[in-house]
Amino acid sequence: MVLATATSISEAYAPVYRYVTPDRPDLWRRSIYRFIVRSTPHAFLTTLDCPSPANLTPARLETTTALQSLALLNNDFMLRQVGHWAKRLEREAGGDPAAQVRRAYALALSREPDDTELTAAVTLVERAGLPQFCRMLFNANEYVYVD
């Protein structure tokens, strides 16, 4: 889900790596093997419990932290994807908030929203815009955890 590319700027002692938020179709790929810069771990991945490559890690130590909440709510990669997703919903479901919400639930949660959820979601879309709703759905426990 998360992709990183690094551009290297050589300095006398060690190259300095700066991460670029992948925001082009050719950068949207899943990784099986990934290039890792030991001296500059990717902050977003580290926050999400990506283990240090220095350790043998047969099973990732999973934690729950407030920094993860902040990352999923505010990280540049997440919010650019929120923008893309909102546009996709508009393309596929048109301008009606209820249709957009139903399409979002189908894509993200593989189900229909019930009446209470639909009302709450549509209210949010009307008050705060479709991207805000998309952003919050990405942060929902139901989205993040496989039951």
Partner: protein, 342 residues
């Protein structure tokens, strides 16, 4: 003091975690693992890097290693104008999302609460909900702690805010006092950053070329900030309950390297203050040349064992089982230095 290595990266790791290899928990991680924190709104282990950048080895120096990731140090940026914590707010192009956030949060809380209903025994889901609540508190507490405008003129003079070189380090030190005041368990300040290539005053204490130039620059900075911090902690009645350690990863040779000096893992000095340390005392000496530790050579294991003891922890008992070994900060070494305890 002595170190096992005269290379910056491994020596930094050793000073921080007791091992020259990366991947081991930093002292701050161990301490918060053992003691938790007194603040509910701020991270337990905070790192305040130099505004010039991160130290050699970067975040590995405050990593949690094989301890739960919540014990990793949280970097708080002290430079004026920089957001204190990464991703604290939707920034840049996404700032428009901030306006509707309260409504969004309400929706998220409701959705998560509904989801939790039939799964009430799942502590991970509940923990995640709590994490969002803490994140919201961090959005208030982090800017609050880094907002130094409320401090008095006396304090600003003490930390020499106006001095172009000492001021930034003074800010880091003042921020450390404010964090400690608010119950943060472990704060680490870095004076200097990783080397860069340009020929100028070193951005750190690695004085290979010109000792007089670079030490002349950095000496007043460390001295100014550290003295201010100790004075300030004492004035706030915090010095007795706060252990202050000033250390480095290795020393310099007594012989010249041009106008500078090369690395020396054989002899260097650390100091400690507050928190139960007996003031005005020294432990150990180097030989007459200052080349090698002579009487009572010590290492980070002894420093860590002594510090943990002052925090009320037996360094041999604070351990965790990982990949077949019962691991601890002091590995299989370390002696408490009784003669410097108050």
């Amino acid at each position: 003091m002595q170190s096992k290595t005269a290379l910056h990266g491994p020596a930094m790791f050793m000073a921080n975690s007791g091992f020259i290899l990366p991947g081991f928990p930093a002292m701050g991680a161990w301490v918060t693992y053992g003691l938790g924190s007194e603040s509910e709104d701020l991270p337990a282990f905070v790192v305040l890097p130099d505004h010039r950048g991160l130290p050699p080895g970067g975040p590995v120096n405050w990593g949690a290693g094989f301890l739960p990731a919540i014990h990793q140090g949280t970097v708080i940026e002290t430079a004026d104008g920089r957001p204190p914590i990464t991703d604290l707010f939707a920034a840049g192009d996404h700032a428009a999302l901030i306006a509707g956030e309260p409504a969004g949060r309400e929706f998220l809380a409701a959705v998560n609460a509904r989801h939790l209903g039939p799964r009430g025994d799942n502590s991970e889901l509940a923990a995640r909900i709590a994490a969002y609540e803490l994140a919201a508190r961090l959005q208030l507490s982090a800017p609050d702690v880094t907002n130094l405008s409320g401090e008095s003129d006396v304090v600003e003079k003490l930390y020499q805010f106006d001095h172009p070189d000492i001021g930034p380090f003074g800010r880091q030190c003042l921020l450390a006092r404010r964090l400690v005041e608010r119950g943060v368990r472990f704060v680490q300040i870095y004076c200097g950053a990783e080397n860069t290539g340009a020929k100028k005053i070193r951005p750190n204490w690695d004085f290979h070329e010109d000792l007089v130039r670079d030490h002349g620059y950095w000496g007043p900075i460390l001295d100014g900030g550290a003295a201010a911090l100790l004075t300030d902690l004492k004035a706030h009645g915090l010095l007795d309950s706060t252990l202050v350690m000033c250390q480095t990863e290795f020393g310099r040779q007594p012989a010249a390297q041009g106008k500078g000096r090369d690395h020396n893992a054989g002899a260097f000095t650390v100091w400690m203050a507050g928190g139960g340390i007996k003031g005005g005392t020294a432990f150990g000496t180097s030989g007459p040349l200052g080349f090698k530790a002579d009487e009572h050579p010590t290492s980070c294991y002894d420093l860590h064992a002594t510090s943990l003891r002052l925090l009320g922890i037996d360094h041999t008992k604070l351990s965790t089982y990982n990949n077949g070994i019962q691991r601890r900060l002091t590995d299989v070494q370390g002696h408490v230095i009784d003669s410097i305890l108050g």
